[in-house]
Every structure is written in C-alpha cells, then in structure tokens.
C-alpha cells in the first residue's frame, strides 16, 4: 500500500503544530520520522490515524484521496498504530484487548473470543512472539505489552504500521529484537513509519528518513548520512552537545544508602537491597530501563514510599521513616520525573509554584499568614534568574511550555541551600535549548559541592552528566561503573548482566559492530 500525505497543516488556536507537511510512504518500506520532542511528529501521526482532523491538506492511499473521521476509518484503510503510551486496557486479557473494536460474534452479539485467540496464535507463531492470549495485560512486562499492540494492528491487516517512539521503554536488547520484528514485517510487505529522535536506531532500520523541525519538513536524508548531519538537521543548527564541564572534585561521601529495600502493595521488592554512596561535588547517575525501581528509589529517599527498609543517611542523619517535609528540610532538593503530576500544581500561579515546598516559613509566611508581596517579588527574581518565559508571575503554570515548567521546578528546588540534589528524568520531553540549560544547572550545583543523584533512562544523558553510573535492573544494583563506561557495556548491564561479564561481552561485540565513540552524536537527548 502506498500512503501519501500532501500539505498537511494542523493548527491548535494560534499554534501551528504541522505546517504543510508532505510525506510519501512506499510499500514495504521503513520510513523514519526524525525530529526533536515537540517538532510535531506525533501530531502528524495522529492526523494520519484519524485522531485529529487536519486543518488543511490531504491524505492519499494508493493515490486515492481519503478522509479519516476516526481511527476506525484509518484502520479500515490498513493503517495501524502503536502509541507511545500503550493503548491497552490493563484489566482486560490479551485476547480481549486484541478483540476490542474488531470483535467476532456468534449470534445475538455474543463474543467469540476463540477466533481472536486463533488469530493471535497465528501471528505469534509467524513472528516468534511469546504471548499468552489469556494473560491479564497489567501483569505483562512492557516489552510484551508492545507486542500485544503490534498484534492488535496485524490482526486488523495493517499494511502501514506506525510506531511512535517505540523504543523509549525498551532495553537495548529489546530494542534490537524490535528492530528484527520490523525487518520481518518489511519482508512480509508491511510498511513501517518509525518515529524517533534516537539517531542510532533510525540509522539502523530506515530506508528513508524525513526530518521534521518546528512543524515543517526540513528535508529528507539517507540512512548513510552521518549522525552529526542528522542531528544538525533535526535541531536546526550545528550541535555540539558535549557539555563543557570540569572534572569532578569529589569530597566527603555525605549521602549513604545501605540495604535499601522497597516493597510495593503486592509485596514485590521493587527496590532490592540497594547500597551506594554519593560524595559532595559528584554526580551519580542511576541508569536503567524505565520501571526497574528508579522511581521507587527516589521516592523512598524523599519519604514517599510507605514500605521501605534499610538506611538512607544524609550528613549522618537517618532520612528513612521521616516525613517528606522533614526530608526536604534536611536539605534535599527534588525534581520529580513527571513534573505535571508531582512537580507542579498546574492551576496555581508561577509565584505559588515557586514556593510550593516553602510556603509556610519565612520569608513567605509569618505565623499562618502568607505574605503575598514577598512571594511575588521572589517569583519575579527567580523567573529572570532561570529565564522562565512568561507574561506574568500570576500566570497559571499549566499554561507554560514543558521547558519553562521544568525551569520553574528547578528554580524552586535550586534556590535554597541544598545538601543533596535529586533529579529524575530532568530533561524528559524538553527541546535541545532547554536540555542544555538544565544540564548546566545540574553541573553548577555539583560544582557548588552538592552530592547530585540523576535518574535517567536516556543513556546519552547519563553519559553526559555522570561522574559515576549505577545501573539498576529489577530493583537491584547491577554495578557501579565509571562515568566513561562504554555504551555497550551499559546496555548489557541494563539487561541485568554484571559489569565484568558485560565488559567482556561488549569487548567481543565492539570489534564487530558500532564503535563506542558515538557517544557525542547528539542522539538520545533531543
């Protein structure tokens, strides 16, 4: 099937998300859409999938113009999509999820799940998926959930499969497996639209690359183009993402975690017997695939996890068992991984968000009375210091862009004396300019002599910032390695391979494949 987008424009109010985009997906081709966060890739695909009406422009399937009123129409035309956030119903089984919207019935509207079960089996056998049709989706690992999503599309005879940032939640090994699946799909004549901002994958899998920047197609590239070329095309200027930073001068190890175990509501050990130190003036990066205990680790330190055992000491004082307020008062600064959910109150003004954890003390309060003028003046000062772009400090934080929201969080957390700074996914969803700003601030805090703990699932960010790297796998510490450890070793460690073995394996591997010097190609951040 040949799929063509002609002059697609999508505006939201005054915001132009897609500006006259042309795109041609040839049959049996892997077409990559490369662009930064916020470039308009997802919007474009949502238009193609019938979730948004285009403001202007046309979609053509095999040279015939089509109009998609909803995802149903797009699916009927042979387009399938695997969303970045999986569209699966957690309390349904695999077969129910696959059947949904495409049910076969046996008289009187009765569900006939056996037919769907059979289809799942056929597809699983064909592509080597190991999926139990009767498992509850919420019990499955993310990698398997992604396969369920692919099965959903294939059961509906998708001729074009859109994969939106499919590798964000996968280990490097799972990513390799996914790339294999894509190759198989291609062999079977399915076209794939692969959306990513990760250059390595894009280069490895695509037949054609279209680069999108600020809602416009800025050109197409050949997979053989160099990573630097692709990165500059994507960002729109020459990029040199290697951060200027002085070598760390670690001081005394003032932050110590010993035998930390966190259990979730099912009794599962989500953090399992973790021990490490962080020294003053040092960045320890916690690397790992999403969902391997990083969130729970940071929450346990902050006092947000009710079932944590072991010891977490800052400056010799035990933090475990204290309230969040006490932990913050001990000098812990915290940037949560999801700023909109945990970091900011969207309906509150910037000024109020700037004092969210200090509203009840001088100089912002006297007794239980607030001091509005002091609060406003503080906010004015901080928005200029952290370059927050806003018309007014009274604007609701929810109306700001992601980069500016993150600056508000940073401004709040970094504007008091810290004894420990924790940032979780500090640059998730930000554009390149904001990423540079955030990274500089993190390093500045380190150079100020604060122990810094960065949690990131982006290897590039980890390598950029870390003085040492601790890798987590299933809540356990796989090992702590120096900041200049190769990407391949880290990739293996993220799959649970201990550092020594990983080092050997990567050594063998390296001679055959990609060199480790790729680390500053600008890939993973944007």
């Amino acid at each position: 099937m040949k799929l063509e987008l002609k002059g697609i424009t999508k505006t939201f109010g005054s915001l132009v998300a897609n500006d006259h985009i042309d795109l041609l997906v040839e049959p049996g081709q892997v077409h990559c859409l490369l662009g930064e966060n916020g470039a308009g890739k997802s919007t474009l695909m949502n238009v193609l999938y019938g979730l948004y009406d285009p403001t202007e422009g046309q979609i053509l399937v095999d040279d015939e113009p089509v109009v998609f009123k909803g995802p149903g129409d797009a699916m009927a035309a042979g387009i399938g999509m695997v969303h970045q956030h999986f569209m699966l119903i957690p309390v349904f089984t695999v077969v129910e999820n696959v059947a949904l919207g495409n049910e076969t019935t046996k008289g009187a509207g009765r569900l006939d799940l056996d037919t769907t079960r059979r289809k799942i089996k056929e597809i699983s056998d064909k592509y080597g998926f190991d999926v139990d049709p009767d498992a509850l989706v919420e019990d499955l690992p993310v990698g398997v959930q992604q396969r369920v999503e692919i099965i959903k599309a294939l059961v509906r005879d998708a001729k074009v499969l859109i994969l939106d940032e499919p590798t964000a939640v996968l280990t490097p090994q799972e990513t390799d497996e996914l790339l294999d699946i894509i190759r198989q799909l291609k062999t079977n004549g399915t076209s794939v639209v692969f959306i990513s901002h990760k250059l390595r994958e894009v280069k490895a899998i695509s037949d054609t690359i279209t680069v999108i920047r600020r809602g416009k197609v800025v050109g197409s590239a050949d997979p053989s183009a160099s990573a630097t070329e692709l990165a500059s095309a994507m960002v729109g200027r020459a990029v040199n993402l290697s951060l200027e930073k002085a070598p760390a001068r670690p001081g005394e190890a003032t932050f110590a975690v010993r035998n930390l175990t966190v259990t979730d509501h099912n009794g599962q050990h989500v953090v399992d017997d973790l021990s490490f130190d962080i020294a003053q003036g040092e960045v320890l990066a916690i690397a790992g695939v999403q969902g391997n205990g990083q969130t729970e680790l940071t929450e346990a330190v902050l006092g947000l996890q009710p079932h944590a055992r072991g010891s977490v000491k800052l400056d010799g004082k035990e933090l475990l068992g204290r309230s969040v307020k006490q932990v913050l008062d001990a000098g812990v600064g915290f940037v949560p991984e999801d700023r909109q959910v945990d970091g900011l109150v969207g309906a509150f003004s910037i000024a109020e968000n700037m004092i969210l954890d200090r509203y009840d003390r001088a100089p912002f309060a006297k007794g239980i009375g607030l001091k509005p003028s002091v609060i406003a003046a503080h906010a004015e000062k901080k928005i200029s210091e952290f370059d927050v772009r806003t018309p007014s400090v009274t604007a609701a934080v929810g109306t700001l862009s992601g980069g500016n929201q993150q600056k508000v969080v940073l401004a709040r957390e970094l504007s008091r004396p810290l004894r420990l700074f924790i940032a979780s996914q500090p640059t998730r969803g930000l554009d390149v300019g904001s990423i540079e700003f955030v990274h500089k601030r993190v390093i500045a805090e380190r150079d100020h002599g604060t122990p810094v703990m960065i949690v990131s699932t982006e290897l590039d960010e980890v390598l950029e910032l870390a003085d040492r790297i601790a890798v987590l796998y299933r809540g356990r510490l796989v090992g702590i390695v120096p900041g200049n450890t190769s990407r391949d070793v880290l990739g293996l460690m993220m799959a649970g391979i201990p550092p020594e073995e990983a080092g050997n394996a990567a050594g063998l591997h390296e001679t055959a494949a990609t060199p480790t010097t790729e680390r500053h190609d600008g890939g993973g951040h944007a």
């Binding site: 939201f12 109010g13 915001l15 132009v16 966060n37 916020g38 470039a39 308009g40 997802s42 919007t43 948004y52 600020r214 902050l302 947000l304 309230s323 969040v324 307020k325 932990v327 008062d329 915290f334 949560p336 999801d338 909109q340 959910v341 945990d342 970091g343 900011l344 109150v345 969207g346 309906a347 509150f348 003004s349 000024a351 109020e352 969210l356 954890d357 509203y359 009840d360 309060a365 239980i368 009375g369 607030l370 509005p372 003028s373 609060i375 772009r389 018309p391 007014s392 009274t394 604007a395 609701a396 929810g398 109306t399 700001l400 862009s401 992601g402 500016n404 969803g429 554009d431 904001s434």
Partner: protein
C-alpha cells in the same frame, strides 16, 4: 496530542470553557480531574490577572451567571404559566381570543414573581415602614444558614472534596448546640458562646470523620457524606425520643425551648426575626476568604485540591489536609445549625436543618466555590426561599418552583456554552472550543 513548538505560553486563556479547565488541570488525564468546579484553584494573591475589565464582563463568568439566572427565571415562569388554571381555561378558546391566553400567561407568571419579589426584598403594599422592609430581613435570616453551610461546601470543594454532607453536619451541629442551649444554664454571654462552640464542634466531628475515612481508607467522600446525612437524621430522630432531648410531658419528637441566654440576640428588634447569626455568617465569609487566600493552611488546602501528588511531593501532609478541611467545613455547617437552633427556630426538632444542607451545595456551586461568591449566592437563594414562602401564601404557587429555578441556574452556569448558544453569543463557535482544549493539552504535552 499536539507537541508544543515554542517557549511562549501556549494556551489561549480567554476561552471560558470547562473543557479547557479539565484538560489543563489533569495533565492529559494522568491526574484525575479535581471533582470540584472552581473558577480557578489558584489563589488570589492580590495581583490582577490582566485583560480588560470590559472584556472579562462580556466573555467571562459574570455575564453567563446573569444570563443563567434570567434563563432559569424565564423557564420557571413558563412552568408557572402552563400549570395555571386560568391559563388553561383561556387556552380552550385560544383561537377565538388568543389575547386572553396571553394575558393569563402574563398574569400568572408575573403575579408569582411579583409576589416572590415582595416576599423577599421590599413590600410596597405594607402599611408601615417595618412591614415594607420586613421581606429583606427575612431574606437575610433565611440566607444565614445557607451562607454558613455553603461556605463549608465551598471550602471542601477547594481542597478537592465534594462535600455533600452539609445536611448531616448541620444536623449534628444543631444537636450539639441545642443540647447545650437547653441543658446547661451558664451565665448570659457565656451560654451563647458555649452554644456556638457546641455547634462548631458537632459539625467538625461529623465532617472530620469524612476526612479521616478519606485519608485513611480512601473511601470516596461523596458516598460517605450521603450516607452520613441519613445517619445524622436518624440519630437526631432517635435522640429526640430520649429523656435527655425530648421535651418533658410531650410525646412529639421535639426538644425543650432553648434558654433565652442561649439565643442569638435580634439585630433589629422584636418585629424582625433577623438575628446576630447573620453577622456571624458575614464574619465566617471574611474568615474563609482569609483562610483560603492569605494563610498557609489555605495554601495547603488548595494545593491538595488542585494536585494531591504534587502537594505530597512538596511535603504537604495530604491526609492531614483532608481531615482538617473537612473538620473546618463541618464546623461551618455546624454554624448553620447554630443559626437555626439558636436563631430562627429556638428549638431542636427533626426538621431543624430543613433542606439547607442540600441547598448549600447549589449555593457553593453558584458561588463558584469562592467565599464571596458563596455569600452572594446564599443571599440570592435566601431571597428565593423567603420570597417563595410569601409567594405560596399570596398566589398559591407552590414553593417547589424555587427548587426548579435554583437547580436550573446551577445547571446553566455550569455549561456556559449552552447559555451563550441560547442567547446567540457564540461568535467563535465549536472550533474555538476544540482549539482551546487542544492548546491546553499542548501546553501539557511539551
């Protein structure tokens, strides 16, 4: 969802559309939306939000609120007219003399509303000046419990809790206050103070339980408060059969009269029922305004209401917030109970709370959960209620019409696009709504 392209504020803030609020406040559905209808969860820190006043009036909530009231009153008038006997009689010969029908319709609807006005604001037909202004004092008297309980509902709203339980809190507040009022006999002055404290305490306990259950077990406050309303009602009915509460020598479920020293003094003398409880209600409004906008406690409440996860991460004790806000909300409703038992009724009976607790919900909704909004809404609904009683007596129009008009007002105010469509004020049509929603999401996405 659309990705955001620039660093400028992405959302157009002019669209007064609930959908926008929803999208904005939920971070693309990752936070459950606040159950609560508030104009804005942000505090009023004394800065102007910008935008011309004129534009705010014509696009904003004030116009919609006014038009909602008009629309509801018109619909109420239609209902009065179609059920009127004279209209029905005239309609049988409508085609012979349509003017009869039309004038009957006008007479029925306008008669009822004139009676409503004369019963609630000013009665020009009265013989004396006192008689003329009596209606407005009645309005203030009836508004007193509505304002107090409405503030309780509004305050809980701001902390993200849907407090349907004002009715039960009024009942228990009135029970405590009443018992203090007719059982203890301390000196004048102290007695009234103790009655008020009793009312506050009773309401606080009944409200605090809700907060406690919510904080400890996650029990949904809507369900708990509905159930507690019934339990409070049956508890009161039971107590009124016990010797401690029942009037001696009486088989009816009614308490002794409260001591004179336990009653609110009258504001304007014997001919009016207006009592000091109204001034207490004004003070309560000021207090709630201060609490929400100028105190750290209110900051916590609002943060918990707008985004409990972020509040927790910022070190705010969300459980404590739920318990405290429900206790204060209950205490405010308890104050309404005091106004009833120590002001208007002077006795504790099964019907002491009337339906004030339920009306308080509509009052708080109409007031958009702001303290002064609630105050004015309480006055409006107090006028409806006071006038409705007079209307029923004068024109025989049942007071139930007031419930209809009140609920229509709240429905219309909650759906501005509907009201604008009815009055043909929708220049931007559907597209803008969509765009505003999307833009708000865009701001969330990037």
């Amino acid at each position: 969802m659309p990705e955001n392209l620039n660093t400028e504020p992405a959302a157009e803030q002019t669209a007064a559309d609930t959908a926008t609020d929803t999208a904005l406040a939920t971070a693309d559905g990752r936070i459950p939306p606040s159950p609560v209808p508030v104009a804005s969860q942000g505090g009023d820190l004394g800065h102007d939000g910008g935008g011309s006043l004129l534009r705010q009036i014509f696009t904003g909530n004030s116009l919609v609120a006014f038009l909602s009231v008009v629309l509801a009153i018109v619909l109420g008038g239609v209902l009065i007219a179609v059920t009127d006997e004279k209209v029905g009689a005239a309609a049988t010969y409508f085609f012979a003399r349509p003017s009869d029908t039309l004038s009957a319709i006008w007479t029925a609807a306008s008669g009822a509303y004139v009676a409503l006005f004369q019963g609630s604001i000013f009665n020009p037909n009265a013989q004396t000046f006192e008689g003329m202004i009596y209606p407005i004092t009645e309005t203030l008297t009836v508004a007193t419990p509505l304002i107090c309980a409405g503030l309780g509902v509004a305050l809980a709203f701001r902390a993200g809790l849907f407090n349907i339980g004002a009715q039960g809190q009024i009942i228990i507040g009135a029970t405590f206050a009443g018992w203090v009022g007719f059982t203890w006999h301390p000196p004048v002055g102290l007695h009234l103070a103790l009655v008020i404290v009793g009312g506050l305490l009773g309401g606080a306990v009944w409200g605090g339980v809700v907060g406690l259950l919510k904080a400890r077990t996650g029990a949904h406050e809507v369900i708990v408060t509905i159930m507690l309303n019934y339990i409070a009602q049956f508890l009161l009915l039971f107590l009124l059969t016990t010797p401690a509460f029942q009037r001696p020598g009486n088989t009816n479920p009614i308490s002794p009269l409260l001591d004179q020293s336990a009653l609110y003094p009258l504001v304007m003398g014997e001919q009016f029922r207006l009592h000091w409880g109204f001034l207490v209600a004004v003070a309560a409004t000021v207090f709630v305004w201060w609490l929400l906008n100028r105190s750290t406690v209110g900051f916590e409440f609002r943060a918990v209401g707008a985004n409990p996860s972020a509040a927790r991460t910022a070190g705010i004790n969300v459980s404590k917030g739920y318990i405290l806000v429900m206790a204060i909300a209950g205490a405010l409703a308890g104050l309404a109970g005091v106004a009833q038992v120590a002001g208007t009724e002077k006795v504790l009976s099964g019907g002491v709370a009337a339906t004030f607790g339920f009306d308080a919900i509509t009052v708080a909704l109409l007031g958009r959960s702001s303290p002064w909004g609630t105050f004015w809404a309480g006055l409006l609904f107090g006028a409806f209620r006071a006038g409705g009683t007079a209307m029923q007596a004068d024109t025989g129009t049942p007071i139930d019409i007031v419930l209809v008009v009140q609920s229509l007002i709240v429905l219309f105010i909650a759906a501005p696009p509907l009201v604008r469509a009815v009055f043909g004020l929708n220049p931007r049509k559907k597209k803008t709504k969509k765009a505003a929603v999307a833009a708000a999401e865009g701001a969330g996405a990037a």
